[in-house]
Amino acid sequence: MAGTLLFNALRDAIDEEMARDSLVCVMGEDVGQYGGSYKVTKDLYEKYGELRVLDTPIAENSFTGMAVGAAMTGLRPIVEGMNMGFLLLAFNQISNNMGMLRYTSGGNFTIPTVVRGPGGVGRQLGAEHSQRLEAYFHAVPGIKIVACSTPTNAKGLMKAAIRDNNPVLFFEHVLLYNLIEELPEGDYVCALDQADLVREGKDVTILTYSRMRQHCLKAVEQLETDGIDVELIDLISLKPFDMETIVRSIRKTHRVIVVEECMKTGGIGAELIALITEQCFDELDARPIRLSSQDIPTPYNGKLENFTIIQPHQIVEAAQQIVLKGL
């Protein structure tokens, strides 16, 4: 059987869920006739019609709020951020209404919504199109945040996100859409709150997510030849963290490195390491290491862009340092 590209895995997930439940609908810029800027909703407009796959004007805050209102009154909307960075313009609706409204309404309303789209640093897309909003949205109460990283988990997580009765921010990565993989047969879902133990190992735990999983896998290959046995965990759920899996791993390896694409200040790793030190400080044999992007707007120049985000060799060096030198 031929493999499935990640963007098609997402498309299949949405297609299957729309066929399964007529309350599921998609709205966003160019999701309909155009099929989505990364083709995640290709052909769904023809299949489900213009109301279920709604092309919206360029009005992020308003159509995101519209999705909240539609969810409050019974629909299950999927909002596409053509680029997740554009959702900065919808920050108010995502925070105040998608995230907080169920609570402030004392449980009167539920907001079953998925907000999905491409984020991350691509190839020379410039600062505004290279954002990592997961850290910006991390403090919003009432929102689940997941990041897919393979065609298999992209499909299973998307289906789970659509079926979930809570708002889910679903991060895709511009450079992962063409990953290819054979998908499991049939209707399957992946748990939204469970980390993926990618590789078992005993020397050091590496925690990562989204595209950095690929960089970590490259580093792991190199480290294997050095005799360093890495336990690699893909967080999948950025909120809440699967602390059970994370703590279990650290109790085994006693060393931890977080590899992330978001900026260091106020990042995912910052929160994660704070939780790790709170929950298993005594288990650590070395200081935790954070490998994060530079605290700068992503530069356009390709060389500078590469220096902005973490590269595989830096992961190798950090692992060597923490395992071999105990630093």
Partner: protein, 363 residues
């Protein structure tokens, strides 16, 4: 800054009418198409408006007595809008979306006074279980989509409810799906992007929604004429090819008639309406507002147009009802309000063990 100074001095020296352009507009507005009502409807409208007025007066009393906290925005003076619009719609069928000035919309929508007052006291018996407060009243049962505290953010929510109506009718084939959504907001909101964005989408998709502008001239301390390049908000509908109408917001029968026309269009799938109700709030922006900018003459001008007194005059001069019947209603309302205060005072506060409840759908 010099420009700002010259604008304000122009305003103070020009002295057109005491109430300014806003007052001129209502003075020259011809409410030719007022709703025809029977005795029963007349009594209901009077009852709803009186409940709104007296509920708010009681809120002020409770606030100053230290029973109520936070920001409390009262609706006095604007009752003809809430009663005129919601009274012409179907409760528990149509949807209503409000702002931070939401107590009276909630009452008109049918949320029991006990639940609203309890919410203001932060009690578990409140319509938002004491988690929302004055600016965040919600009731799924009564189709109240919420009180929204940031300017304009409720409009997209209302648009979403209207989208659901159309989706159920046209995507799911449910011919009975004809709920209309009323989105209430003020003149200050009409300079915000969400207002324009949602007008565009509502007309584009012919959604069953009624945009109700309660133009009370003041966005806290910012006079309408100082904030907008075109003060006649209803005219902005034309930019979207939408039906727009200006109505005397102190005349419940005029508001009712305009709403009935808009609802008829919306239910027939003929799209949205922008309804600008010229009104005035008799109190400050909130109970924390020193209200120093509004001229006494202006307040007097609008006080003479008290919508409840105007309705009473209509009802009694048409001999639809007798004055003593209205006094009896007032007595009933007073009893209801005393009851809701007693109920709210005696009600339990939320259990601290449930502090984190309602974050997630399953909880």
């Amino acid at each position: 800054m010099s420009q700002k100074t010259s604008v304000s001095s122009d305003q103070s020296t020009a002295k057109p009418l005491a109430a300014g352009r806003h007052g001129e507009r209502i003075s020259t507005l011809i409410s030719s198409k007022r709703a025809k009502i029977d005795r029963q409807i007349g009594l209901e409208l009077f009852r709803d408006m009186t409940l709104g007025r007296r509920f708010e007066d009681k809120c002020a009393e409770m606030y100053y007595r230290g029973k109520m906290f936070g920001f409390v925005h009262l609706y006095n003076g604007q009752e003809a809008v809430s009663t005129g619009v919601i009274g012409a719609m179907k409760r528990q069928h149509d949807w209503f979306c409000s702002t931070y000035r939401d107590h009276v919309h909630a009452l008109s929508a049918g949320v029991p006074a006990r639940e609203v007052m309890s919410e203001l006291f932060g009690k578990e018996t409140g319509c938002s279980k004491g988690r929302g407060g004055s600016m965040h009243l919600f009731s799924q049962e009564h189709h109240l989509l919420g009180g929204f505290a940031f300017i304009g953010e409720g409009i997209p929510i209302a648009l979403g409810a209207a989208f659901t109506s159309r989706y159920k009718r046209d995507a799911l084939g449910d011919a009975s799906s004809n709920a209309v959504t009323a989105a209430f907001f003020g003149d200050g909101t009409c300079n915000n992007g969400q207002f324009f964005e949602c007008l565009n989408m509502a007309q584009l998709w012919q959604l069953p929604i009624l945009f109700v502008v309660e133009n009370n001239k003041w966005a806290i301390g910012m006079a309408h004429e100082r904030a907008t390049s075109e003060p006649e908000i209803w005219q902005k509908a034309a930019a979207f090819g939408m039906a727009g109408e200006e109505v005397d917001g102190m005349d419940v029968l005029a508001v009712r008639a305009a709403t009935q026309r808009a609802i008829k269009r919306a239910r027939a799938g003929e799209g949205p309406t922008l309804l600008e109700c010229l009104t005035y709030r008799f109190r400050g922006h909130s109970l924390a507002d020193p209200d120093e900018l509004r001229a006494e003459e202006e307040k007097q001008f609008w006080a003479k147009r008290d919508p409840i007194k105007a309705l009473e005059k209509d009802l009694t001069s048409d001999s639809l009802v007798r004055a003593d019947e209205l006094r009896a209603i007032e007595k009933e309302i007073d009893a209801e309000i005393n009851d809701c205060v007693e109920f709210a005072l005696a009600a339990a506060e939320p259990n601290p063990k449930e502090l984190t409840r309602y974050i997630w759908a399953e909880d």
